[in-house]
C-alpha cells in the first residue's frame, strides 16, 4: 500500500452552530494531483486553512509525511514541508520578484535571523531563488517590483516561492483564479510537470484545468465529502452532477 504524503482524517469544524467541515477525510498520494471542488460556500477554503494550519479543527487529524501535525501552526507545518499558495496573492508587494523568491529560500534555510551580509548576495539562497523563478518563467522579471506584475505573473511568483521550499506537498487555493483562458492553460501545463517534485492538493473552480490535471477529485458540498474518485468516476457520479457539475442536457 502506498503511504500518503498528506492525510486528512475525519476533520470536523464548527463556526458557532454552522458546521463547515463534517467528517472530511482525504489523502494525497505521491506524484498525484488531487483536486478539491465544490460550490461556493462548500467549505473548501476552510478545509485548506485547516490543512495549512491557519485554523485548528474541532476534531480529526492532519498527517503530513507520517507525522501528526494537527496541533502545529502554519509556520511549523511549512517547516515540515507543506507549501501553500493563496487564493488572493500574498506577496511582499513593495519588494522585487527576486526578494520574494529569496524569502522562500530563506524560510527553507531555517536561519532567518542573520543580521550581517546581504540577503540578495548570499549565493546559496540566490541560486535557489533564481532557479525557482526560472522554472516558472519569471527569470527576466527578477528585478521588477512585485506590485508591477500582472495578476498571472503574481500567481506564477506564488508558485515560485512555494518551489523554493522544496516541499513534501503543495496545497494550492484556486491557482487559476483570475487567469484568462491562455494563462490558465499555461499554468495547467506547468502544474502537470510540478507533480514530479511533490504532489498537489488544489482547490479549483476551473473545471477544464481540473479535468486536465487531476488524478483524483474530491467533491465537497456543505462541508461534507460527497465523492472521491477519478475524473471519469466523478463525471459519471449522479449526486455530483446534481450538486455541482450539472448535466449536459
Amino acid at each position: 500500500m502506498i503511504e500518503p504524503v498528506l492525510s486528512v482524517q475525519q476533520i470536523n469544524k464548527h463556526f458557532g452552530v454552522l458546521q463547515v467541515s463534517k467528517d472530511v477525510s482525504l489523502d494525497l498520494l505521491p506524484g498525484e494531483i488531487h483536486a478539491l471542488i465544490g460550490p461556493n460556500g462548500a467549505g473548501k477554503s476552510t478545509l485548506i486553512q485547516q490543512i495549512a494550519g491557519g485554523l485548528k479543527p474541532d476534531s480529526g487529524r492532519v498527517i503530513l509525511g507520517g507525522h501528526d501535525v494537527t496541533q502545529l501552526d502554519t509556520v511549523a507545518r511549512s517547516r515540515r514541508g507543506l507549501a501553500r499558495t493563496f487564493q488572493v496573492s500574498a506577496l511582499a508587494m513593495e519588494d522585487t520578484v527576486l526578494q520574494n523568491a529569496l524569502l522562500g529560500a530563506l524560510g527553507a534555510s531555517g536561519n532567518p535571523f542573520r543580521i550581517w551580509g546581504s540577503a540578495v548576495r548570499k549565493s546559496g539562497l540566490r541560486t535557489i531563488a533564481e532557479q525557482a523563478l526560472d522554472r516558472v518563467g519569471l527569470a527576466d522579471q527578477a528585478h521588477t517590483v512585485t506590485a508591477e506584475l500582472s495578476h498571472g505573473q503574481r500567481r506564477q511568483l506564488e508558485i515560485a516561492v512555494a518551489l523554493t521550499l522544496s516541499p513534501k506537498a503543495f496545497v494550492m487555493d484556486e491557482p487559476m483564479a483570475g487567469l484568462g483562458t491562455q494563462g490558465s492553460r499555461t499554468l495547467t501545463g506547468f502544474l502537470d510537470t510540478l507533480r514530479e517534485q511533490a504532489p498537489i492538493l488544489m482547490v479549483e473552480h476551473d473545471m477544464e484545468a481540473v479535468f486536465a490535471l487531476a488524478d483524483r477529485i474530491s467533491v465537497l458540498v456543505y462541508g461534507q465529502l460527497l465523492a472521491t474518485g477519478t475524473v471519469a468516476q466523478i463525471r459519471d457520479n449522479e449526486a455530483v452532477q446534481q450538486a455541482y457539475l450539472g448535466t449536459d442536457t
Binding site: 495549512a52 501552526d73 502554519t74 509556520v75 511549523a76 511549512s78 517547516r79 507549501a83 501553500r84 493563496f86 500574498a90 506577496l91 511582499a92 508587494m93 513593495e94 519588494d95 522585487t96 527576486l98 526578494q99 520574494n100 529569496l102 524569502l103 522562500g104 530563506l106 524560510g107 527553507a108 531555517g110 536561519n111 532567518p112 535571523f113 542573520r114 543580521i115 550581517w116 551580509g117 546581504s118 540577503a119 540578495v120 548570499k122 539562497l125 528585478h143 517590483v145 512585485t146 516561492v161 523554493t164 521550499l165
Partner: protein, 327 residues
C-alpha cells in the same frame, strides 16, 4: 551611488563640520546643541528599526530611553558616593566608566524589551500602540515614586562619566564620542536592513501570511527587532543623561516617546538617515523658534502636518525621492 546615499553623506559631513567650526570659533553651546541632536538621532534610529522595517508603531520607546538614562544615573550616583548598588548576593559597585554604563543600559533595556515585547507583540494595530504606551507610563510612574533615585525631582550627576583616553567634559571630545556611536548605529541599521533578517522582517510588515507560509515566525522577527531597537534607544538615553548630567522621570514619559516618533516621521520612516534629519530639524526649530515664542510647537505641528499630508517619505523622501525596491 543613489541620491539618498549622497544626501546621507552630505548630512553627516555637515553635522561633523558644524561642531568642528564651533570648536575653532569657541562656541561650545553650538557643539552641545549638535551633540544633543545626534543623541536624539540615535534614539530615532533605534525606533526606526522597529517602526520602519518592522511596522511596529511603538508609543513606549521612552521606556528604553529612560532605562538608558537611569542606568547611567544609578551607576554614576553610586560611583560618586562610593556606595555599592547592593552587597548581596554579590557586591556590585557603581561605575563612572561610559563603556560600562552603555553596556549596562543596553543589557537592561534588552531584557526589558524582551519581556515587554513578548507580551505586547501578541497584539497588533491600535492595541500594540496602547500596550507599549502603558508599559512606558508604568516605568514613568515607577521612577516618579522611587525616592532612592530622586523620585519626581530626578537625579543629578555632578561630573560627566569617563571614557578612556578622552576628556569627556570637553564638548568637542564628548561630541566625537557621540558622532562615532551614531555612525556605528547607522551602520548597524543599514546592515540589518539589507540582511536576510531585514528581508524577512520587511516582508512580514507587508504580508504576515506570506512569511508564515515560508516557515518563518513573524512574532520572533518582530521580537528580535523590538529588542534591538530598545537597545539602541537605551544607548541614546545613557548618552542623553550624560550630556545633561541629569536624569528625571520625564525621560520615560509618553511625550518623549512621541518626540522620538516625530523625529522618525519628520525625517522619513524606514529611511536610514530619516531620524537624523528629523532630530536635527527638531532641535533647530526648538533653538531658533523657541527663542521667539514659547509656543514654537505650533510651527512644528504645522510642519509635521505638511510632511504627513504631502511628503510621506518625510524630508528625506522630499529631497531624495520615493524609496525604490532594489536588490
Amino acid at each position: 551611488m543613489n541620491r539618498e546615499a549622497l544626501l546621507n553623506i552630505l548630512l553627516l559631513c555637515v553635522l561633523l563640520a558644524v561642531p568642528v567650526w564651533a570648536h575653532t570659533a569657541e562656541e561650545p553651546f553650538i557643539i552641545t546643541l549638535v551633540t544633543r541632536a545626534l543623541i536624539l538621532s540615535i534614539a530615532g534610529v533605534g525606533l526606526n528599526m522597529a517602526l520602519g522595517q518592522g511596522g511596529l508603531v511603538s508609543l513606549g520607546h521612552a521606556m528604553f530611553f529612560g532605562l538608558g538614562g537611569y542606568s547611567m544615573g544609578i551607576l554614576a550616583s553610586h560611583a560618586q558616593t562610593y556606595t555599592p548598588l547592593f552587597e548581596w548576593p554579590i557586591l556590585l559597585e557603581g561605575s563612572n566608566s561610559m563603556p560600562v554604563i552603555w553596556i549596562t543600559a543596553i543589557v537592561v533595556s534588552g531584557f526589558a524589551a524582551l519581556i515587554t515585547g513578548a507580551l505586547s507583540l501578541r497584539t497588533s494595530g491600535v492595541y500594540f500602540i496602547m500596550i507599549t504606551l502603558a508599559f512606558g507610563q508604568m516605568f514613568y510612574y515607577f521612577a516618579v515614586s522611587w525616592p532612592a533615585y530622586g523620585g519626581d525631582d530626578g537625579l543629578s550627576i555632578y561630573v560627566r562619566n569617563e571614557f578612556p583616553g578622552l576628556n569627556t567634559l570637553d564638548p568637542i571630545q564628548f561630541f566625537a564620542i557621540v558622532f562615532v556611536l551614531l555612525i556605528i548605529v547607522l551602520a548597524l541599521a543599514a546592515a540589518v536592513a539589507r540582511s536576510p533578517f531585514g528581508l524577512a522582517l520587511n516582508a512580514a510588515r507587508q504580508s504576515q501570511a506570506r512569511v508564515e507560509a515560508v516557515g518563518i515566525s513573524p512574532f520572533r522577527l518582530r521580537l528580535f527587532v523590538y529588542v534591538l531597537s530598545g537597545m539602541v534607544t537605551a544607548l541614546a538615553g545613557a548618552l542623553f543623561a550624560d550630556l545633561n548630567r541629569f536624569v528625571s522621570p520625564s525621560m520615560f514619559s509618553w511625550q518623549t516617546s512621541g518626540e522620538i516618533m516625530v523625529f522618525v516621521i519628520l525625517g522619513g520612516v524606514a529611511r536610514l538617515c530619516g531620524p537624523v534629519v528629523g532630530a536635527t530639524v527638531f532641535i533647530a526649530l526648538e533653538h531658533f523658534l523657541g527663542g521667539l515664542s514659547d509656543y514654537w510647537h505650533i510651527y512644528l505641528g504645522i510642519l509635521l502636518l505638511v510632511i504627513v499630508l504631502f511628503a510621506r517619505g518625510g524630508l528625506v523622501g522630499l529631497v531624495a525621492g520615493k524609496q525604490q525596491a532594489h536588490d
